[in-house]
Symmetry: C2
Subunit: 411 residues, 2 copies
């Protein structure tokens, strides 16, 4: 007998969860759409060269690649993945969008405001709550170099999160250039910025002491480490200009945070977070992340990636994106037993296959479907009382017996 | 510069088409749901052994397989696909559903009425209108051995097709056992049934003469060929019993067709088609297909597959499925310029980034969003008259200028 388990690191989604997922996805899509974003779709697979040529960071180590077909493969012991495979599954929706924009630019509005909702694939080590196939809900604005694009993305994403019942989240904002400036100003060499960022990214988990220890262990200069740690501890939106000279980055950061603050009212928070990193190598400007709950888990993230589209296009095009991690949201809302979903009108129409004409049973069901009910046809069992009791499981509001009941008997 | 084309045999979906797709998908889902079906989801990839062990027929030659990860591969020249790969992309939704049912049986209702909407992948030779990644909308009833399951699937699928604006289609019905009986009764050996079926499947394209020639070319007995051709030409629902002895199959076929006929009224046709084959090896009973339009192209298909779930399960479970080929439907409806989609209320709110406070612009947009409008914020260009003219492109009903217009100016 063949195993009936789904592939390692993935899972089957059951009807109850699926109903919630569909409902939330539609809500998010609706908020995106009334803000003037348009949905597009790209294939789940992309050419392997495109994926490998991206600045996908850690995600490139987690690619699912697809074996070449049709030709007889030269299977030498030193064959590379490009010898064996020609395609891979997408690891995010940003890279495919950049390709899409270049491929279809002439028929798209400018600026182009895209919605993408779809699954992405990463061969991560399986662990609780992390899947190898998971859904993202992205909005991106392509062709707007001003911070109004960032503001619109944050405003729209925040509204979508509020609409699905997530309250009291925090949007953390940082600027790639700020972080790089701070690190260098502390006395680190420019070529170490990347590895310092990887250490700083652990601040949430191991704190200032842990990061300090790690930097010293790596033989970085004591003074530089001390200076950097003082900076990331003391820096705030108010004293930013003391620490960094890039006034444009400072102005942009300040203006975005203040505008979103004015829109947020008491529904959510916006803060400057000098240690926010975001893994992807392709970000060039403002970066942001939504954290939620007591453990501050990240439920959405994004940033500006002005140089990516230039890889497929004659001219470089400015772009910003914000992605909601759908699986995290679902986990949170299912744990919180969210009841933002209205109970549906749903009833069972029982029939006896021996005596009832099934065509007539269907027509009888349709009468109630036209009244807005979900009608589920079911064969009456011998122990009918027991059967009815079992059907009172929260999925149906009541039942009828064909040829006997004119109205629904509610549980 | 890296190519911006999607992978061979796939395509990007643009905003206008996407809007129609989303609308139709929701309509189909709604019809499925009010008939008591519940949506589930399985991963796009399945274990390769499961896919290869299925009776997927021709589809097994078109598998996309995924390279093993993490381990150093033994690349010998005679390595098989199972040496190199551990997973593959699903080629249909029926096989994953069978696995899903076995994996989750104890928490599912019985009979279980499933909805699946998702993409499947086949490495077909690219040709117009055929894609390597395409969407299917399936409903299946698992655990009902009676023909009421077939009737319910046909009724629900027909209603879904009618709801999205497809009228005048034909449901063709046949029974696997009938076809096998007819072929053997004509004088062919049992072991040739499969290859005879492949020839008969071409009836639509090459006609009776073509099929006859092909069978004779393959050195089949003249008399048997003549007898078979007379049979498939003369056979009808009325004289079925003259040709086949399996009275249960005949009864089932007759009863399903008559019941659906009574439900169809003049909206669509139901016919018996003795040459309907359906490629999949796993069908065991009634098989059906929806054809539409002057070329009779197939837009949906399905059948009973009572033995499949037994492969993953201790006990065999009866099952029937009906799958709508979403891409075909979209092609047809886009060619027919279907206007079943209501025009949305949509307007542009122009602003001047130099003088207007962007936060206030957003709040102004929200006022109209609450009235049910899609509001798209846009920067005013210098040549505003020209810009407005370009925006009158059918996507927006009108516009407002921030700080100037209180009401929408309709185009």
């Amino acid at each position: 007998m063949i195993s009936s388990k789904p592939v390692r690191g993935t899972r089957d989604i059951l009807p109850d969860e699926m109903k919630i997922r569909d409902h939330l996805e539609q809500k998010i899509l609706e908020i995106y759409r009334i803000h003037g974003f348009s949905r597009i779709e790209t294939p789940a697979m992309e050419n392997l060269e495109l994926l490998l040529g991206s600045e996908g960071g850690e995600n490139l180590k987690m690619l699912f690649t697809i074996l070449k077909r049709g030709e007889k493969l030269e299977l030498k012991q030193d064959a590379s993945v490009l010898d064996l495979c020609d395609m891979g599954l997408r690891f995010d929706l940003t890279l495919p969008l950049s390709r899409f924009y270049s491929n279809n630019q002439e028929v798209l509005e400018s600026p182009f405001k895209a919605i993408q909702i779809g699954n992405v694939f990463r061969a991560e080590r399986p662990q609780k709550g992390r899947y190898r196939s998971f859904k993202q809900c992205d909005i991106d604005i392509i062709g707007d170099a001003t911070i109004n694009a960032e503001i619109e993305l944050m405003d729209t994403t925040a509204k979508a999160l509020l609409a699905i019942g997530l309250k009291g989240f925090t949007i953390k904002v940082n600027h790639r250039k700020l972080l790089s400036a701070i690190i260098q100003r502390s006395g680190f060499a420019p070529e170490t910025v990347g590895s310092i960022c990887i250490c700083l990214d652990k601040m949430d988990k191991i704190g200032v002491d842990g990061v300090t220890r790690e930097l010293l262990d790596k033989n970085h200069d004591d003074k530089a480490v001390e200076c950097l740690m003082t900076c990331v501890t003391d820096i705030s939106l108010e004293n930013l200009e003391q620490w960094v000279e890039d006034t444009e980055a400072v102005d942009n950061l300040t203006q975005v945070i203040n505008t979103i603050k004015s829109l947020a009212k008491d529904n959510f928070k916006v803060v400057f977070d000098s240690t926010l990193i975001r893994g992807m190598g392709y970000y060039t400007g403002l970066i942001f992340e939504v954290s939620y709950g007591p453990y501050g888990s990240s439920v959405a993230g994004g940033g500006r990636y002005d140089n990516m589209i230039g890889k497929y296009n004659k001219v470089s095009v400015p772009a910003v994106g914000f992605s909601i991690g759908f699986e995290r949201i679902i986990n949170i809302l299912m744990e919180e037993q969210n009841d933002s979903i209205e109970k549906e009108k749903s009833a069972i129409l029982f029939y006896d296959p021996k005596t009832d004409n099934f065509g007539e049973v269907i027509v009888r069901g349709d009468v109630w479907r036209e009244k807005g009910y979900i009608i589920n046809l079911m064969v009456m069992k011998k122990k009918f009382g027991k059967q009815i009791a079992a059907c009172n499981n929260g999925h149906h509001q009541g039942f009828m017996v064909f040829g006997r009941d004119e109205e629904i008997k509610f549980f």
